[in-house]
Amino acid sequence: MIKTVGTAVVGALLCAALLAGCGEKAAAAGGSGAGGAQSTSSPTAAGNPGAANEPSGAAAVDSELNSVDQQLGAAGSDVAKATQSPSDGDGS
């Protein structure tokens, strides 16, 4: 009787452990899948040959040129502010 109960408990524990393992694997697979999807949709896919990849490469260039516009805008504004005269007029 005790043996039967013990076997049943051990069996239940093993089942639970197996199920938990499966869950972890499923979660891990889901995570890497999402990451994979992100990487294939990234602008750096332009490196592949063929017309199919040309739009993503061009889009990456557009994005970079927009960033450059912002970077140069900030630099221009900063240089202008740096050369403004001191606010209390004592040249200090």
């Binding site: 199919a52 490469g57 960033s67 450059v68 630099a75 240089v79 740096a82 606010s87 209390d88 040249g91």
Partner: protein, 260 residues
């Protein structure tokens, strides 16, 4: 209507005259008290109080500027981490020093001592002449470095895309070469400027500091000009990619590999 305009003009004139008079009055009280002011103890005390008030106000102005600079540093998208730390440390040190100087001014008993504090306020910190340009120009130089890197990435992608679209024409090659030359010129102009800028220390020689800051500013302006030209080249090349017809995958692969 005309009367209203006239009254407004008079009021504005009066306000301007008042504002103009204040600094002159303040300067005379801090720089050299008149002999008549020293004739009585009460007058001397008034003169000391005026000098203390003026210098305290000028210290407060500097503390406000340092606070504003801290906000700029914290919100900057381009400042490199090391530059942020260097600038934040310097601002922290200046803020502590000026706060202590403010207390010292309040406890002075002579106008001469307040005048000495005023000199220290300027020469030992150089908030307007040095600290503010250090923050602004560091941000500009780091933004330019980021722009140079971004343009270099765009250059690589544009080369590949043009190659894939049936090969690079001589006009496109010329644009690519100019783009690369402008990026290199910008990098060269900015090279070492942040180290020079952040190495400048406050001191009594205002013209020397101004000259050093102007040199860094000129380099940043020059680099920005180069980067603007590189960006113009990149936009031309981007238009060429748009208007070009994509070639077959096999030809593209061959062109891409020969370009690299």
């Amino acid at each position: 209507m005309k009367a209203l305009v006239r009254i407004s003009a008079m009021a504005a004139g009066a306000a301007l005259a008042l504002v103009a008079a204040l600094p002159a009055q303040a300067d005379s009280s801090s720089a050299s008290p008149s002999p008549s002011a020293a004739s009585g103890k009460g007058a001397a005390k008034d003169s000391l109080s005026a000098a203390q008030a003026l210098v305290t106000s000028r210290i407060d102005g500097r503390l406000s500027t340092l606070q504003a600079l801290t906000t700029s540093i914290n919100s900057s998208k381009y400042l490199a981490s090391a530059d942020k730390t260097t600038l934040a440390n310097q601002i922290g040190s200046d803020t502590s020093g000026l706060t202590a100087l403010k207390s010292k001014v309040a406890s002075e008993t002579t106008v001469a001592a307040v005048r000495t504090d005023a000199v220290a306020m300027v020469d030992d910190y150089r908030v307007y002449l040095l600290m503010a340009p250090q923050v602004r120009l560091s941000d500009a130089l780091d933004a330019e470095a980021a722009a140079a890197t971004t343009l270099q990435n765009a250059y690589t992608k544009l080369s590949t895309l043009l190659s894939q679209n049936g090969g690079i024409t001589s006009a496109e090659q010329s644009e690519l070469s100019d783009m690369q030359a402008q990026i290199n010129a910008a990098k060269s102009a900015d090279n070492g400027q942040i180290a020079t800028l952040l190495g400048l220390k406050p001191g009594p020689d205002a013209s020397s500091l101004t000259g050093s800051v102007k040199a860094v500013s000129a380099a940043a302006k020059s680099a920005r000009g180069d980067l603007v030209k590189a960006r113009a080249d990149a936009k031309q090349l981007r238009s060429a990619v748009k208007s070009a017809k994509p070639s077959s995958p096999a030809a593209s692969a061959s062109a891409s590999s020969s370009a690299s």
